[in-house]
């Protein structure tokens, strides 16, 4: 099937069975891993916060998610009177289905030979895999946006507005950093991207895109998908302390659970995607044993590292503010990834052009930085004059021993 992903040639019954089995296995594995991920997150964050975390259902509380899911399933499914009923019911699925569909293009291992068929450990490998990824992640924005809008309530509406602005602007940065991967690989297929990363520089450094492209597109992509996933510190869309839950404030019962399922499924999927794009996917040394086991293990280890990273970030960082988030997206991430894309392109054409462009970027960047510093200092002087009057007013009057340096 790897040779003929769109079934253009003759289809044998074996191919169909393999495809069905792959879908079922992938679906089941993803569902189970979502369950484990929620448990993992809760357990890990409680360890980081001096708490115990779930410990009742099953060994180490591992069945807690299942228990929560069953509980939510039997809760009353409330649909607010002012809501747009059809859209309100549709929205959870719009976020859930793309999360699963993205996972289908992720190669989780090498190639195995079964019953005379060569099977790729990947549900599908369409030639336009990356475009499919971008399309699907855009669709999942609609789920959040429509959920907030259709609730017919003010807080979800604010959440929906935030969601649409945030996700659309981060989509751009994400797309640009993916474009540099595509540029260096010369293919849109995920399998090609992974195979092109096999091997090593000088025998030690893996030839992953993380190193080949410089670390910048990786960082941009990481920040962009964190925002895309609504994970802390970019979880403004739900922002419990500000918007009471944002887009899912009015949701209850299994629809609410579906949003959470989608969120965690997205987290896993996007971690898998970042591993595929920048960390060589299942690439890694074979340390003995059956050949097909190690790539899968390496893939799982790398994905797990990112999942750990997300939980860690959640425990450590406060939430950024809406305007700061937009500033970061439009003023930092998009220019940086655009510039880097130009650089990667120039390097592909000729190394001389590339280094010349790099030097030009450094000069331009320095000038820009200087301009921003001057502009900021002038505007902040202006602020102080307008809002605090003379300096004499600001100076403390009586006994004081401590003052903050600003």
């Amino acid at each position: 099937m790897g040779v003929d992903p769109l079934f253009l040639g003759p289809i044998s019954i074996g191919t169909v069975i393999i495809a069905i089995v792959k879908v079922l296995v992938a679906f089941g594995a993803l569902m189970v891993s979502v369950m484990l991920m929620i448990w993992f997150e809760r357990k890990l964050i409680s360890d980081m916060q001096n708490r115990i975390g779930p410990n009742r259902a099953g060994p180490f509380g591992i069945l807690q998610t299942l228990a929560d899911g069953i509980k939510l399933f039997f809760k009353e499914d409330l649909i607010p009177g002012k809501s747009e009923r059809f859209v309100f019911k549709l929205a959870p699925y719009l976020t859930l289905v793309p999360a699963f569909l993205i996972f289908t293009i992720v190669p989780i291992g090498g190639v195995v030979h079964l019953f005379g068929h060569t099977v790729e450990l990947q549900v599908a490998d369409p030639p336009m895999g990356i475009l499919f990824l971008l399309a699907m992640s855009s669709v999942s924005v609609y789920g959040v946006m429509l959920a907030g809008w259709s609730s017919g309530s003010k807080y979800p509406l604010l959440g929906a507005v935030r969601a649409s602005a945030q996700m659309i602007s981060y989509e751009a940065a994400m797309g640009l950093s993916v474009a540099s991967v595509v540029l260096i690989t010369g293919s849109l297929g995920t399998r090609d991207i992974v195979t092109s990363q096999a091997g090593a520089f000088f025998g030690i450094f893996p030839k992953w895109n993380l190193i080949r492209l410089g670390i910048v597109p990786f960082l941009v992509f990481l920040v962009a998908i964190t925002a895309e996933l609504n994970r802390p510190p970019f979880d403004l869309v739900e922002a419990e302390q500000e918007l009471v839950g944002g887009f899912h404030t009015e949701y209850s019962s299994i629809r609410f659970a579906l949003f959470f399922l989608a969120e965690f499924m997205n987290t896993i999927t996007m971690s898998a995607v970042i591993v595929t794009l920048f960390l060589g996917g299942p690439d890694g040394p074979n340390l003995g044993g059956p050949a097909f086991v190690w790539p899968i293990l390496w893939f799982l280890i790398k994905t797990g590292a990112f999942l750990f990273f997300y939980v860690w970030v959640r425990a450590a960082l406060p939430r950024v503010r809406y305007d700061q988030l937009m500033d970061l997206g439009w003023k930092v991430l998009i220019p940086v990834s655009l510039g880097w894309l130009l650089l990667v392109g120039a390097m592909q054409v000729s190394k001389i052009y590339g280094f010349a462009l790099f030097a030009a970027f450094i000069v331009a960047g320095a000038l820009m930085y200087r301009a921003i510093i001057i502009g900021r200092s002038q505007s902040s002087e202006l602020d102080i004059i307008t809002s605090f009057g003379s300096d004499a007013q600001r100076s403390p009057k009586t006994h004081t021993s401590r003052e903050r340096n600003r």
Binding site: I45, K154, R314, L317, R319, R321, Y322, D323, R406
Partner: protein, 462 residues
Amino acid sequence: MTARSSSKFIKRFRSSPLDESTATGLVGETSEGTQEMKTRNETNRVELEREEGQLTVLPEGIVLDHGDMDIEISEDETMIINMGPQHPSTHGVLRLMMELKGETVLRTKPVIGYLHTGMEKTAEGLTYVQGSTNVTRMDYLAPLHNELVFSLATEKLLGVEIPPRATWIRMLMVELNRISSHLMWMATNGMDVGSTSMMIYGFRERELVLSFFEKVTGLRMNHNFIRPGGVAADLPDGWYDDVSAIIDTIPGRLDEYGEMLTGQPIFRERTEGVGILTQEQAISLSASGPVLRSTGVAWDLRKDIPYLAYDEVEFDVIIGSIGDTFDRFAVRLSEISESLRIVRQILEKMPSGPYRVQDKKITPPPRKRIDESMEALIHHFKLFTEGIHVPEGEAYVAVESPRGELGCYLVSDGSAKPYRMHIRAPSFVNLQSLPAMLKGGLLADAVATISSVDPIMGEVDR
């Protein structure tokens, strides 16, 4: 009221414009108008200025007009949103009506009264002995301060001098209470800006102090420990080591907070320049405590009108410079260190002697004496049935609670129960600076700012 007139009344009430403006019609009208925020057309100018935080009057009587108002804002562009009383970050049951343009706050109207328990009125039915059980429930994060101010006011009316050990025990407990209250504030403030770990860490350190309180008073909150005439009991054995353990542990933890929040760029960006209150505004709005000090006014009752033995210990008054949310955070963080400094001095200077007044009319006799002495039994009986008879007069005493000036005004008619008790609650007064702070900020800033005021609704509504 006859049936006819009552139906007329209902009819009139139903047809009032209030009923049309509020969709539900469930909200009644108080003597000061409705509690709901109305649209700009329906609000008069004074009310509008108040909701924009502009009508501020200095003690000298000069009305300050900060900037001009945008009355031309069209109704179609704004949205009135109701935040609370069940909102997760309004610290209990504070309710804010806010007019938003996009996410920018234009007007704010704090609505209170959801935790009204009538404690000031209840105090009139309780004797002075029972009084401290009542006041301790007002500010539930700083119960000892409430007991202290009530006891000080009663003692002022009685004209008794409490023994030095009682004074120093009170000071120890009150300063530890300030630490626990500020730690709790750090926790909730961290939570409000989205740092969930800070929530747990703050609670963890507060637990150290609370378990000491439990050892001393028997309870974790609502202690009823500081009473008119002294304190309820002497410090237990081993108190010195317990307190030493607390003051040795907390500084290290404060450094961790510094790493987690103060040095954290996201936290700095969330709080710096947010919710600014100028010095003039703070003074004209009668703000006190960290809210006032963050604007650069070094006003601390412990220093300026010393009570207990605060003039015998060394400490600094922490002030900020700009009056933004970060300043309020920094002031509280440093105040914890200052309180630790005071506690350390108290440990060294703690005098020995009786822990309550040796006056049989005020202090109940020890349990053993009741079995031996008829007189003691009579005193005990009289004290707990009738209470202390307090001479006629009135007294106002103020202490520096973690939230600001906590005052108690007592009027006595010579009986064993106060004729009137009024508490000047710092949270209540500080809340009125919210419209001024929130104006022009974003919704997310509003959340950070509300928590930086540190309102305790039990104290606001009393």
